[in-house]
């Protein structure tokens, strides 16, 4: 199988059952993406596929051979302000969920820029604006067992230019 990950092409021989997460971690040693629940409930495995955030644990690698996959190791300059904001705001304790939180936040910001509404957007036809309430709803697919949520929201708002 052939993959495009963080701008590099990789040839991998893997069992057809391999999840995208296991491909990254066990075959390519990209261990930034974490395996929390392995059932799409915690978000620790979040990566960007063609710019969209997804749970890599629920994806079969074989189905993503034509996609551009970006992991926390590959977010680069575009991801730097979000990473710095997580450091500045102490937006973690143990850090296990952090790479998923950051990848998810980067994907989420793209969704807001594209004008996508969320459940808490009062007017579905208005242009979405990222508020702390919006960020909480939009980030609900990322669980933090240390409960660093207030600082995660502060970091996300800071990185998007709406810091409090």
């Amino acid at each position: 199988m052939q993959f495009n990950i963080n701008g590099q092409t990789h040839e991998v021989e893997a069992d057809i059952r391999t999840s995208l997460l296991d491909l990254l971690r066990d075959h390519l040693n990209l261990t930034g993406s974490k395996k929390g629940c392995d059932h799409g409930q915690c978000g620790a495995c979040t990566v960007l596929v063609n710019g969209r955030r997804i749970n890599s644990c629920l994806a079969l690698a074989v189905m993503h051979q034509d996609d551009a996959i970006t992991t926390i190791e590959g977010v680069g300059e575009a991801g730097r302000p979000m990473q710095q904001a997580f450091v500045d705001h102490d937006a973690f304790q143990c850090g296990f969920c952090t790479s998923g939180q950051i990848c998810s936040a980067l994907g989420m910001v793209g969704e807001v820029k594209a004008g996508w509404p969320s459940l808490v957007t009062a007017d579905l036809e208005a242009t979405a604006v990222l508020t702390p309430e919006e960020a909480r709803e939009r980030m609900s697919g990322n669980i933090c067992r240390c409960a660093a949520y207030p600082n995660i929201i502060d970091a996300v708002m800071d990185a998007t230019g709406d810091g409090r």
């Binding site: 059952r17 997804i54 994806a59 079969l60 509404p117 579905l124 697919g141």
Partner: protein, 331 residues
């Protein structure tokens, strides 16, 4: 996970043939199927990937019908400007389900065909007629907080978990399919699903290999008000305990038309024409709304942990009807 053959056909007729082979299953997003395969609950021996079939478009036909491709992602459907403007309850229902990551991957048809989240179905060991027919149901006398109060039998009280399907049912959606023999099929969404009876393992009326290609929605009555309200244990990323999707048109202070669908209550998204008929012609009043709730719940059966759903859906329905019919009442 069992081994499987993987194919990614380029056209729907090839896919429908591949999908009719023994042990075959279609896969689009895979957010439910891959999870079920990891747990050994789904064991397809052939996976037919439908992502190359050009079925991801969301299009408006000249007659005003919205034609949703079966592989359109939930997030794209919810964010579609036309859907937000004309079917806001559909956007709201989708946005109330799952997480951003899952909505980015989950497809329209996959959402409709997702399996119940009954914990006994998922645990792989408890007796479950849906997973292993004839073994019995562990939920009837077990932990059944999330289970059905309508349409269930002693064989199975699992609920259908979709929010999107509730909105689509209230909006009168039609499911368009391609059969293995190349014929096109059209199924009202309500007829897609079967009630459990004695065979809860058979969940839909789709034939072997029948591929959902589109979901169609006719334009809603002009001026009708829409709502989707979901009640759950936490504010986000949780399945509905109870949900109500409704669309009501008023005329001269009376209800001219009403379509109401319910989630979390039954083995399929639930709609009761008698409830709607009772409301048509009525002026909005607490008495009329209570009569509608009485009608909805006349055959409701609580089984212990889930008995709270009876008063909960009564209050949720009445609140929704108030918002749908009284100016200034909407939240």
């Amino acid at each position: 996970m069992n081994l499987f053959e993987y194919s990614r056909p380029e056209d729907p007729s090839t896919a429908a043939k591949a999908g009719s082979a023994d042990g075959a299953s279609y896969i689009a997003g895979g957010t439910n199927l891959v999870d079920l395969m990891k747990l050994g609950i789904a064991r397809p021996t052939r996976l037919v990937d439908v992502n190359r079939l050009d079925l991801a478009k969301i299009e408006w036909r000249s007659d005003g019908v919205l034609r949703i491709g079966a592989a359109a992602r939930n997030s794209n459907l919810a964010a579609d400007p036309g859907v937000r403007a004309r079917f806001p309850m559909l956007s709201r229902a989708i946005l109330s389900g799952a997480s951003g990551q899952i909505r980015n991957v989950a497809s329209t048809a996959g959402n409709l065909l997702q399996r119940t989240r009954c914990p006994y179905f998922y645990d792989g060991v408890s007796p479950c007629n849906k997973r292993e027919p004839g073994k019995g149901c562990s939920a009837t006398d077990g932990f059944n907080r999330i289970h059905a109060i309508l349409g269930a039998t002693d064989a199975c009280i699992a609920t259908h978990p979709s929010d999107m399907a509730v909105a689509l049912l209230a909006l009168g959606a039609t499911v368009v399919t391609l059969k293995a023999d190349g014929q096109t099929g059209r199924i009202a969404l309500d007829d897609l699903y079967r009630l459990p009876g004695d065979t809860p393992n058979i969940e839909t009326n789709l034939k072997s290999g029948e591929l959902i290609t589109h979901v169609e929605l006719a334009a809603p009555p002009s001026g009708a008000r829409q709502i989707y309200r979901k009640v759950r244990d936490r504010a986000s990323f949780a399945f509905a305990l109870v949900s109500v999707g409704g669309i009501v048109a008023m005329e001269n202070g009376r209800i001219a038309s009403a379509a109401l669908a319910f989630g979390g209550l039954a083995p399929k998204p639930w709609r009761d024409p008698e409830v709607e008929q009772l409301l048509v012609g009525q002026a909005p009043s607490t008495e009329a709304f209570e009569a509608a709730a009485d009608c909805l719940l006349k055959d409701a059966k609580g089984r212990g942990d889930n008995s709270f759903k009876i008063p909960l859906v009564r209050r949720t329905l009445i609140a929704c009807l108030r918002d749908l019919t009284i100016d200034g009442a909407e939240a």
